[in-house]
């Protein structure tokens, strides 16, 4: 795993203020801006050389902004740990009923289509989705910048992303649009009119999202 380092690696990171020297000693002289940014200590990174920035495994209490002094505490419910006044438990990250457990005993809220919303991290979760981006193995039409201007993207096996856009010959009804307009909004419109699921590269629905798809996408979208 990326977070396990040898003592030698720890030593190297400890001399990071001398980044260039350290990089040279470690066999690297080509540190880019992103690397230097990573090496700089952050507010929550703790002691330099402790790998804190990369290894910050924190319980929520460590990472939550300070609460107002008179607000209910996670441990003690309303009024703080010294004077907990029991109240009905709510999904708020607090021990409202003063039983020592935060957000316990709250029923899940059923979701349309199945699954439920749960109280998690003091908030009600979203409903589960069948997949995150697309149905595994489904395909949508995309546009490429050369030759045929038409391509197909396949959804990955885990439904989390589309693969690369592979060039293909456009269907007969869109050949002319591809030839005349090349990569264009006109070609995207032709794709939709021809009954395909098409990547909305030209934001034809004007919602600001160019990564979504439009058209006949029932077998592609996760909802």
């Amino acid at each position: 795993m990326a977070r396990h380092r040898t003592p030698l690696q720890h030593a190297c990171r400890a001399v990071i203020p001398l980044a260039i020297v350290a990089a040279g000693a470690c066999g690297r002289t080509d540190l880019g801006p992103w690397e230097l940014a990573e090496l700089e200590p952050s507010a929550d990174a703790g002691t330099l050389g402790e790998d804190a920035a990369a290894d910050a495994t924190l319980p929520v209490a460590d990472a939550t902004p300070d609460a107002p002094a008179d607000a209910p505490s996670p441990e003690g419910g309303a009024g703080g740990s010294s004077g907990c006044t029991p109240a009905p438990e709510e999904c708020n990250g607090l021990d409202d009923d003063c039983n020592g457990v935060v957000d316990d005993g709250l029923p899940a809220e059923p979701c349309p289509g199945g699954g439920a919303r749960y109280c998690v991290a003091g908030r009600l979760s979203e409903c589960p989705k069948r997949c995150e981006v697309c149905i595994p193995g489904s395909e949508r039409v995309c546009q490429v910048a050369y030759c045929l201007y038409w391509g197909v993207q396949t959804c990955s096996a885990d439904g989390r992303s589309f693969g690369v856009c592979r060039e293909q010959s456009p269907p007969a009804q869109c050949k002319q649009a591809a030839k005349t307009h090349e990569r264009s909004a006109e070609l995207e419109q032709c794709c939709i009119d021809a009954g395909y699921c098409c990547r909305d590269e030209y934001d034809l629905d004007r919602d600001g999202d160019k990564s979504e798809h439009l058209g006949a996408c029932e077998a592609v979208t996760c909802e």
């Binding site: 040898t6 190297c12 090496l39 924190l58 996670p74 991290a121 069948r130 396949t154 693969g163 592979r166």
Partner: protein, 302 residues
Amino acid sequence: MTPAPRSPRAAPLRALAPLAAAAALCAFGPSARADECGRPDLLETMPPDGATDVPTDARLQARYAATAEYLGEEVVLEHVGVDERAVDPIFDVNEGLLVVSPPEALVPGDEYVIRWPRLRGLGTATLGRSADVRFVAGALADATAPEFAGLSSVEWDLDRSRDECTDSLQARYVFDLGLSPASDDGGRGSLTLVVFQTRGPGITAPEPFAVRRFPAPGKPLRVERTERDAIGEVCFAAVARDLVGRTSASGSVERCTRTVRPPFFEGCSAAPRGPRPGALVSLVLAGVAALSVGRRRSRAAR
């Protein structure tokens, strides 16, 4: 057969032909997709095969791949030695769960077999896998929520592997989530783990992204996120769910880590562990030099 004579210009063209053919195949040929891509397989069941002490009021569940569609396939519940009947399941599309509530409470100590069907998939003609699951009912109904203190740790790595659907490399951030001990009166083996990402790019509310049977004791749960979801500070939480739908009060326990974009600075680890080739060469040269000096001295002594 004598080959026809070719002009000098034909030779280089002929040499380029295989390359051109390969390029054309890459550009226009059908994408190579494995048969497994998008198969609507049954992935796991709760209770698992061979489970004992299944609560008498358990809802029996089978989790299918995201491509699976339930089109009224028959689910059969056999009360071993008593009867066998078709039961009406409910398909939870969001979690890919086919859920059966037995028409009557399970008989304590009796053996059952549930036959989960093969389902069809969206966009694929292939049927998925099915399973026959054998289990024994326990003495009591499920009375209490699971005991689970939530996630105990999180570690991350980046994985690039060939995707069976896209036939190309897909990068994923891999998180190993450590799990606190868990128990339930319906048996630990029948618990489901629901994992949420609570912080990260674009997270506005805790997002459930993995529903799995609870891993074996001591084993972490490995989950994956895309770069879009996983750069910077990312936090996770999890709840355990039993066979009647009760959940642990562990959703408030978050575990966080901070990821960075690749490529990673691994200068020191890039150094070879053994002696470097340069050092070895230096040692050999020093040895040769010492030998030659020794010989000169011995000659001089003569």
